[in-house]
């Protein structure tokens, strides 16, 4: 090797001694951070709502929320049902409660991107086409679905007990549209 070649080799590697580490460090720092498993929305966002029913299935959880600030008619509702001759809620009360319920779906680990959430409105059949479609479940995080129809607000009236019990009752189905099958269902029956 001639002297000029030796010099050129040394110059190149002196330059690479700077460029290569800079390149490696820059590329390493640019690696996208791993998506965390935490919820995307915090519970602080729904300050006016309260969970009246919930279920935790591990991979996901469902909370039924009621906006109590708007649903202060519940005491009125209870009062109405103190009147034994009126076991069913009056229509105007039911209408006022219609938009105060919502469903919070928290997807923690479900890796299926093709899920739909149905509310069972026709309990006589398992066909999802006859049920009420609430929406689609995507990636991890929280989803809120407004329960537009009165969520089977069955105000139970058990005359045999001292206390009259009102409870929330509903059934929801998780449906995989690619495999065309229900993968899970959730039934709520909880006192209000």
């Amino acid at each position: 090797m001639t002297r000029s070649l030796r010099k050129r080799h040394l110059q190149i590697w002196a330059l690479w001694a700077v460029l290569i580490p800079v390149g490696i460090i820059a590329a390493w720092m640019a690696v996208p951070k791993k998506v965390t498993q935490e919820l995307l929305q915090s519970e602080v966002l729904r300050t006016n709502d309260d969970t009246i029913a919930f279920v935790d299935k591990g991979d996901y959880s469902i909370n039924i929320l009621l906006d109590w600030s708007k649903a202060n008619k519940i005491p009125l509702l209870r009062k109405l049902y103190d009147e034994k001759d009126k076991p069913e809620p009056t229509p105007n009360v039911m209408d006022s409660l219609k938009n105060e319920f919502s469903l919070e779906f928290i997807n923690k680990e479900l890796n299926v991107s093709s899920l739909l959430l149905y509310q069972v409105t026709d309990s006589t059949t398992n066909d999802v086409d006859k049920q009420e479609l609430l929406g689609r479940i995507g990636g991890r995080g929280s989803r809120y679905f407004s329960l537009e129809l009165p969520p089977n607000l069955v105000l139970g009236h058990d005359h045999e007990f001292v206390y009259e019990e009102r409870f929330y009752k509903a059934k929801f189905i998780l449906y995989d549209i690619i495999k065309k099958q229900a993968i899970d269902s959730v039934i709520f029956k909880t006192p209000l």
Partner: protein, 354 residues
């Protein structure tokens, strides 16, 4: 050395060398595929092929780039240097498999020409994480291709040594492109730190090797010699020489090899005409100074290759006085004998002088 060009001048060393390369590659690929089948059985065959060939090619490139400086630092590594081009061509072939299958997997499923897709499917030049890293690998492969097809001596002579050497020094640019191809590509989603550590260790190893070897050579080049009378420079004591071997001196920017042969001293230019090998690190074989790299030979008294070969190097005038060796750094024309009645040495070494 040969008069005509042969595809490969096979000899025993070349065959052993190539069998070792082949065995190593086969063993590596089988091990990689086996381990992948064990720990990641859901990987497709194309993915395994792409990854196994890429990692093998990068490993071979590190070995190739290590050989030069290792041979400078320790002569025991010289045998690896002799047929380094075989390693280079092998590495290119493996890298080409990786490149072809990568293009097949990522760019042939659409209606765009795969090579157009390679450069137009990702134009995020402003992003580091999303940089079109595949283009870097493509350009590195082009460099390696040009080097592989010109690795034969035919191209060395026809392109001229200077052009040929300049082309082959682009391997350093190819290395930089490959490092960034890996860092901006697979490292962006295979976030396990072991991959970054391996890439970093490889870079540190090569950089350190080259800087250490280069610095050592610079020290030799900067060695000072006191000027003497009549243009001759004192270089060494006469009793420091081994029969059939040389010592190398760097005077006035060039290296001169001073050989002792049959009790006489001969000085020739240190750089072999073939590929720039260090003639001073060779030995005298059959009366000829023999380059340690590829066996090119030169007659000591005039620097000419023995007939029918035509290579020539410069000779230098050397003299011995009071047990000290003096060298005239001004070279004689290539192939011309040194200016002495004996044709190579001014004063023969005798037992009295030693």
């Amino acid at each position: 050395m040969s008069v005509g060009y042969a595809a490969v001048g096979w000899n025993r060393q070349k065959k052993i060398y190539d069998w070792l390369i082949f065995g190593f590659c086969v063993l590596y690929l089988f091990t990689f595929v086996g381990l992948t089948a064990l720990f990641n059985p859901d990987y497709t065959f194309e993915t395994v092929l792409i990854r196994s060939t890429s990692t093998l090619a990068v490993l071979l490139l590190h070995i190739i780039l290590s050989i030069g400086p290792l041979a400078r630092l320790n002569k025991k590594f010289l045998p690896l240097l002799y047929n380094r081009r075989h390693l280079g061509v092998t590495m290119f072939c493996i890298a080409a498999v990786h490149g072809v299958f990568s293009i097949l997997q990522f760019h042939t499923l659409g209606n765009v020409n795969p090579f157009v897709s390679l450069f137009t499917s990702n134009t995020n030049f402003n992003s580091i994480a999303g940089f079109p890293f595949q283009a870097l690998g493509f350009f590195a492969l082009i460099i390696l291709f040009l080097m592989a097809i010109t690795s034969h001596d035919f191209w060395l002579h026809n392109l001229s040594p200077k052009v040929w050497k300049t082309l082959h020094m682009f391997v350093y640019l190819a290395y930089l492109l490959i490092v960034m191809h890996v860092m901006l590509g697979v490292i962006q989603y295979e976030t396990h730190p072991v991959f970054v550590i391996l890439v970093s260790l490889g870079a540190v190893w090569l950089i350190a090797l080259h800087l250490i070897a280069g610095t050592k050579e610079v020290k030799k080049d900067n060695q000072k010699f006191d000027p003497a009378a009549e243009g001759f420079v004192y270089v060494s004591e006469a009793n420091d020489f081994e029969e059939g071997r040389a010592k190398i001196f760097c005077i006035d920017k060039e290296r001169i090899a001073v050989y002792k042969h049959e009790n006489k001293l001969y000085a020739i230019h240190n750089v072999c005409k073939h590929q720039g090998g260090p003639l001073g690190e060779g030995k005298v074989v059959d009366g000829c100074i023999t380059c340690p790299w590829h066996g090119y030979q030169y007659l000591p008294h005039n620097g000419q290759s023995p007939p029918p070969f035509k290579e020539k190097v410069s000779t230098y005038d050397v003299k011995l006085s009071e047990g000290k060796i003096f060298l005239n750094p001004k070279p004689n024309p290539e192939g011309a004998p040194s200016n002495s009645p004996e044709g190579g040495e001014l004063y023969p070494l005798t037992r009295k002088d030693e």
